[in-house]
């Protein structure tokens, strides 16, 4: 898969309450959750996002709650990928289960600035920064995560096992 979009950069230790505050957890609707994505950081944050844009985060993105509503909100806002320095454990697993691609790149994330145009080749893990010409390569996914992502998430993956 290839993705192309504008980088929306956020800081370190962005928690799941910032991604989707508790008051919105009375629904599982991805559109409604998407409209309120990152509203714990800044109201109306999601309004600046175009479908296909890419979230770029600092250290420990997604820390806190186990709420799967967090990756659903990011997908619901139109963002198929999060590039991060590192990710919190539960959020990492949830994202792949929901079909949201996470790319863990460590300090290399500093080569991306807010607003940069990015092009991603998910198969090779190459992130091309079209604005400043930098290139980052994300280490390959563990085989088990890649398998789940290939199926489009855990639901489809388990479906095959049950059938």
């Amino acid at each position: 898969m290839n993705y192309k979009g504008k980088a929306h950069k956020v800081g370190e230790h962005i928690d799941t309450d910032a991604i989707i505050p508790a008051r919105f957890l009375v629904t599982t609707d991805s559109k409604k959750l998407g409209e309120n994505c990152m509203s714990g950081l800044e109201p109306d944050w999601a309004k600046r996002v175009k479908v296909g844009d890419i979230m770029v985060a600092g250290r420990n993105f997604g820390c806190g709650s186990s709420r799967e509503h967090a990756p659903i909100a990011i997908l619901g806002a139109g963002m198929p990928v999060v590039i991060g320095h590192s990710f919190a454990r539960i959020f990492y697993r949830n994202s792949f289960n929901m079909g949201l691609l996470l790319m863990e790149v460590g300090d290399e994330v500093d080569k991306i600035n807010d607003g940069d145009e990015l092009e991603i080749d998910a198969a090779t893990g190459v992130i091309r920064n079209l604005t400043n010409g930098e290139e980052i390569t994300c280490p390959p996914l563990p085989a088990s995560m890649a398998k789940i992502l290939d199926k489009g998430g855990l639901v489809e993956y388990v479906k095959e096992r049950i059938a």
Binding site: R67, H69, R89, I90, A163
Partner: protein
């Protein structure tokens, strides 16, 4: 191979040889948990997977504790989904009415989790059960759906950080202070993807409730689990709580490999608070003592047990809550509530001017029953102080033990019990 506690418990739940950290193993689960927020998503995924029957109707717990009693139509409708599922599947451990309490206090209390168990829950604080020697970890709803369908899950064997706590435990220090000190020392991602294993003389002397409260916040250091060895205290706790038959002590093998060892000496330490907006921003109470607060919350899965209620009552007895503070006390299960009533603690709280409420997670996550307005500040015995966690984006939450929270309620400023 000498095994850590985490490796040992995983080994008991898998047919594969647990040989190294980072290895992915398929494990049988002892209990699968979801609540009113995460349950509906899990149920949607469960049916989406084509599953028809849960793997074992005795090994699933559905606890409607977050927005309970339901705060609006949407939250009530979410409970309907879980209740209907429980009825259809014949789920034995469904809690939604007067039997319902905060899940992580309720499950150990009801003997539904125990030493050596492998528990997965769609709630990040599922790690609480490490306090009684269970490998318990939080996951998202879809992982939980797969667990409900298959009775198993995949887990990466975590590297372990050993935490040794020693020294003379000061009178006003509690498990909460020890855990906040650790998070302050290693940071909110200090145990990312790892297990925390606690030991040392202070931990040996600590009550089981104190251990549960520490294990509860392992996730605030990024940890996968927070584990305590099983000893005579654990066995006594389990025997008292409908879980008899735990006969063996259980600890890490001598010579087990640790990723890192952290030493903490508590001698001469004063109680601490985690200042906004991150749980690692930990300071001694005396450094922030002039900070005015408008709300105090005593309860939650971290500190809503009977020992917490007794601590709060000890401070509040014969004293009054400051006029500018709303002090909310939420015993975390019906059993805790009844015990408070029996011991006269409810009367103590009421006499002091507290609001005594139902067994709910409400205020901890800014759900309901204690939301902060613009510019308001709270001291809470809960586990997270993220920006906007308890309400307005312009509010602040300080985390502390029930002793500190109660003392703060009396003075109206962040205070330790020795300042009264």
């Amino acid at each position: 191979m000498a095994q850590t506690l985490a490796q040992k418990i995983l080994q008991a739940h898998t047919d594969e040889a647990v040989e190294q950290d980072g290895q992915i193993v398929q494990c049988r689960v002892s209990m699968v948990l979801a609540n009113d927020i995460t349950g509906p998503l899990a149920i949607k995924s469960f049916y989406g997977m084509g599953a028809k029957k849960v793997f074992d109707r005795n090994k699933i717990a559905l606890v409607m504790d977050h927005f309970t009693p339901q705060k609006d139509i949407d939250s009530a409708n979410q409970v309907l989904i879980s209740r209907k599922f429980a009825q259809e599947q014949g789920i034995v451990h469904y809690y939604g009415g007067g039997d319902c309490g905060v899940e992580h206090t309720l499950l150990p209390e009801q003997g539904l989790v125990g030493p050596g168990d492998l528990v997965i829950g769609a709630d990040s604080h599922t790690c609480t059960y490490g306090g009684i020697g269970a490998f318990a970890t939080g996951m998202g709803s879809t992982d939980i759906a797969a667990g409900m369908a298959l009775g198993e899950t995949w887990l990466k064997v975590p590297p372990t950080i050993r935490v040794n706590i020693r020294g003379n435990m000061p009178k006003w220090l509690r498990g909460k202070d020890l855990m906040l000190m650790l998070i302050g020392a290693i940071g909110v991602d200090g145990a990312l993807y790892k297990a925390l294993e606690f030991g040392g003389p202070v931990v040996d002397d600590l009550s089981v409730e104190g251990r549960l409260s520490m294990a509860n916040m392992a996730i605030e250091a990024g940890g996968k689990v927070g584990l305590f060895a099983v000893d005579a205290k654990t066995r006594a706790y389990c025997a008292e709580h409908k879980r008899p038959g735990v006969l063996e002590n259980m600890a890490a093998d001598p010579g087990a490999h640790y990723d890192r060892v952290v030493e903490i000496d508590v001698t001469g330490k004063e109680p601490v608070v985690a200042c906004p907006h991150i749980p690692s921003n930990v300071k001694p109470v005396s450094e922030v003592r002039n900070t005015a607060v408008q709300q105090v919350v005593i309860g939650s899965c971290t500190n809503g047990r009977i020992s917490d209620m007794r601590d709060a009552a000890e401070i509040l007895r014969g004293r009054k809550v400051d006029k500018n503070v709303r002090c909310i006390v939420l015993p975390s299960t019906p059993t805790v509530w009844k015990q408070c009533l029996k011991e006269g603690l409810i009367e103590t709280f009421m006499e002091a001017g507290c609001i005594v409420g139902p067994c709910t997670c409400g205020p901890c996550l800014g759900g309901h029953m204690g939301i902060l307005g613009d510019g308001e500040r709270a001291v809470a015995t809960t586990n997270r102080n993220f920006r906007g966690r308890m309400g307005s984006l312009n509010s602040e939450v300080y985390l502390a033990s029930p002793l500190v929270a109660a003392a703060t309620a009396v003075t109206g400023f962040v205070a330790g019990p020795d300042q009264l």
